[in-house]
């Protein structure tokens, strides 16, 4: 989780990724940010995010993003 927080902070240093639970619904992240995050996740975790995963709920919190990463790592 710490590495993920580092990655996210590198993309948007202005956001509190530890406490924010509505990153998309609350307007902190937009679809452009999701692209940056996906790109970094693909590189870091060697996963491929499918189009079906491009849903706001998968990016609303650090925990949700981590769950997505774990799910994709397990389905490689």
């Amino acid at each position: 989780m710490e590495r993920l927080l580092e990655i996210l902070a590198g993309i948007r240093p202005d956001i509190d990724f530890v406490n924010e639970k509505k990153l998309i619904d609350g307007g902190s992240l937009d679809s452009f940010d999701i692209v940056s995050i996906i790109s970094e996740l693909n590189d870091e975790y060697d996963i491929a995010i499918r189009v079906t995963e491009l849903k706001p709920e998968n990016f609303n919190s650090t925990e949700a993003i981590m769950n997505l990463v774990e799910k994709l790592k397990n389905t490689r």
Partner: protein, 268 residues
């Protein structure tokens, strides 16, 4: 160019082409893809290493790419111009290699926009001297057409995200368009939209014949004041990078650069 007929087909493209280190400008979410496929508006062009998704708009195609091989040649043949947006973080990170790839494939760099943001607590109060500017929310059919004409005359036809008359009417119904008048003559308009708790300034334009009257300042001030809930109310917009006058206007209110920009490329 072929039509994408099912979400499953699209998912296969992602599996095949969206790999580690793939270059992409894709920022379309699954729900939007579903709608585009249902409407028959989503097409693709495939090469050995890359795939390109094209969304059909009224007068052009919007392109999203998944590029794994920058050495390939791409010849996209369409009956309308093609445009795309490439987002990047700060001018130091402008993706010159990617832009070079597209320039080798007959695209030209078009406009660069910067993302600006303001929270109400950081708003700078400014004096608006010209009291002859009258503001009101659009509420008539005639205004809908005046707004459409003004935006079409003022904004970029490919990247200005121009609205149909029905979209304008919908925003009017939601009280999302402010009109400006001087001496009862329509002279400017601002459209905004609340998305995910951010109050987005979507479109703003002033009639050429009325420039210099502070109309845009009046419109922006009302857009801010009327949508404030508290100090944390957030406003955002995209402004053309070299539009010094517009950037100066927003800076005057306290908007700051979010370190996010987008460059559009165009193939006519």
């Amino acid at each position: 160019m072929n039509t994408i007929n099912s979400f499953g087909d699209l998912d296969l493209f992602f599996e095949k082409y969206f790999l580690k280190n793939t270059l992409t400008n894709n920022y379309v979410l699954a729900e939007t893809y579903h709608q585009l496929i249902d409407d028959g508006k989503l097409f693709y062009y495939e090469t050995s290493g890359n795939v390109f998704l094209l969304v059909e708009k009224e007068s052009f195609y919007q392109l999203y790419f998944f590029i794994n091989n920058l050495n390939e040649t791409v010849n996209l043949l369409t009956n309308k111009p093609i445009t795309m947006e490439i987002v990047f973080r700060g001018t130091a990170n402008k993706p010159l290699d990617l832009i070079g790839f597209w320039e080798r494939n007959e695209f030209k760099e078009h406009l660069t926009r910067d993302n600006l943001s303001l929270t109400y607590g950081k708003l700078k109060q400014i004096d608006l001297n010209n009291t002859s500017v009258q503001l009101k929310y659009a509420d008539t059919e005639k205004e809908a057409h005046l707004i459409k004409e003004l935006f079409e005359d003022s904004l970029d036809q490919y990247t200005g995200d121009l609205m149909s008359i029905n979209e304008i009417k919908s925003f009017i119904n939601n009280k999302n368009i402010i009109c400006a008048y001087i001496d009862n003559r329509f002279c400017g308009a601002l459209q905004f939209e609340v998305k995910n708790n951010i109050i987005w300034l979507g479109h703003i334009a002033t009639d050429l014949n009325f420039r210099g009257n502070g109309i845009a300042s009046h419109l922006v001030k009302k857009y801010i004041d009327d949508n404030t809930i508290g100090d944390n109310s957030r406003y955002q917009l995209w402004v053309i990078n070299d539009n010094i006058a517009a950037k100066s206007l927003y800076t005057k209110f306290g908007f700051i650069y979010t370190n996010k920009s987008t460059t559009s490329l165009l193939k006519l």
